[in-house]
Symmetry: C2
């Protein structure tokens, strides 16, 4: 990955020849060989449609019309495949959009945050991986495409005036907030979609009134959730906080 591509856009790509995949049917005898990218893309589709637990080597092999063991040519094992999925997603995250060169870093990061949210909402089943894989795979061993956003965000923060350590702190505050937000937004609530009453739709009637007064009274508020607004409101807080740290001489250059 990472060819001439400097600032934005996906860089995961390693087709052997052309992009011809020659029909998924069972007709052709000599199929064009797979590639890491096609495998990952198929895996992503599978996860998007059937959920994470549906992603097994066997099912993926079936989908690609190949023996399951063939996949091990493109991913050392299942964990590596999952790491590849996080790369496939993170590498699509555009942080520096066209014409961002001369806008304030706050605006750039706010827009990037909204793009992150949009990207992740297109692939909600991958979110667990985004959170989980980095807990297992050390930073230095992750696919390069998964590190590109980190590098770019560090660039943004240093150009904004943060020193090395400050940029790192800023990155963690920013990305941590984003992760926390999507976790919140994707949490499951509705248990009975065809119920009229808000409380029943959420299954809150199970909670004893005496122990959960606040929660039980929040049914309607839980149901009308505006993720975009909440993200925007939250990112404002974070960015203001970061700016304050940048201006206070105590922690700024560091």
């Amino acid at each position: 990955m990472v060819s001439a591509n400097r600032h934005d856009g996906p860089t995961v790509n390693d087709e052997p020849g052309g992009t011809s995949v020659q029909g998924t049917g069972g007709g052709g005898k000599r199929r064009s060989p797979l590639s890491r990218t096609t495998v990952l893309r198929a895996a992503l589709e599978l996860v998007d449609t059937d959920g994470l637990e549906a992603l097994s080597m066997r099912r993926l092999g079936q989908r690609l019309d190949r023996d399951p063991m063939a996949l091990y040519r493109y991913a050392a094992n299942r964990d590596a495949l999952l790491d590849g999925l996080t790369e496939l997603l993170l590498d699509q995250w555009v942080i520096a959009a066209a014409g961002d060169a001369d806008t304030a870093w706050q605006d750039q990061l706010r827009r990037a945050a909204h793009r992150f949210r949009a990207l992740v909402l297109k692939h909600p089943h991958v979110v667990p991986l985004l959170v989980t894989r980095p807990l297992s795979t050390p930073l230095g061993l992750r696919p390069l495409g998964a590190l590109r956003p980190l590098e770019q965000l560090l660039a943004v923060f240093t150009r904004a005036g943060f020193g090395p350590s400050g940029a790192l702190h800023a990155y963690r505050a920013y990305y941590g907030f984003l992760i926390g937000h999507v976790i919140n937004e994707l949490e499951e609530f509705v248990v009975n979609a065809d119920e009229d009453d808000a409380g029943l739709r959420l299954g809150l009637d199970r909670l004893p009134e005496s122990d959960f007064p606040h929660l039980r009274s929040l049914a309607s508020q839980l149901l009308d959730y505006d993720g975009e607004a909440e993200l925007d409101q939250g990112i404002t807080i974070v960015l203001q906080g970061l700016q304050a740290q940048l201006e206070s001489p105590a922690r700024a250059p560091h």
Copy 2:
């Protein structure tokens, strides 16, 4: 669960008789029956020592000296067991400590945040569950103990002056931040512990210098990470932001 216990302390407990477990050895013929709590505690121990993927029904049964199928009396299936684990942890989170009644809500929440971090660092392997299970199990179906912190936080925020919707927003900002933070703190970095050079220890030499200049130069900063300080610094930003929202008449009561 949830007996007379009003504000703090764990509430998960459902022993049938006494707490006698009569030795784990293979001697006694008639063993005292299990309970959901003992099963969950054993599961937590297993996860703490051997990691999440080591938690299988068979291994857990072995540890409790029972047939794997016996566990299904205490958890409908593996997912329910995992939900139980998140309950076991969240229910230990003390939000209102003794003598918190008359301290400012900001201080209370700051201390609760540090307690959350400490709790979670004692059981790092459970963090994926904390993040992942709520994406599958709707709020209304979770074990009650897992909802207690939510209820208590809502209480804190309403007492602080937030309206229903405002309290919910505040909770999400607060908890989202906490989750984001521990994810950051528990991320894996070191790949070669016995290396001298910081860059080598992190395996950053694998990254092409031209594509990852910032990241590669951050080796030493990545290595000396002070999670407690970072949490405290972050929570300050969040609490100030929430306070600002509380004071601005636009969004406060709502």
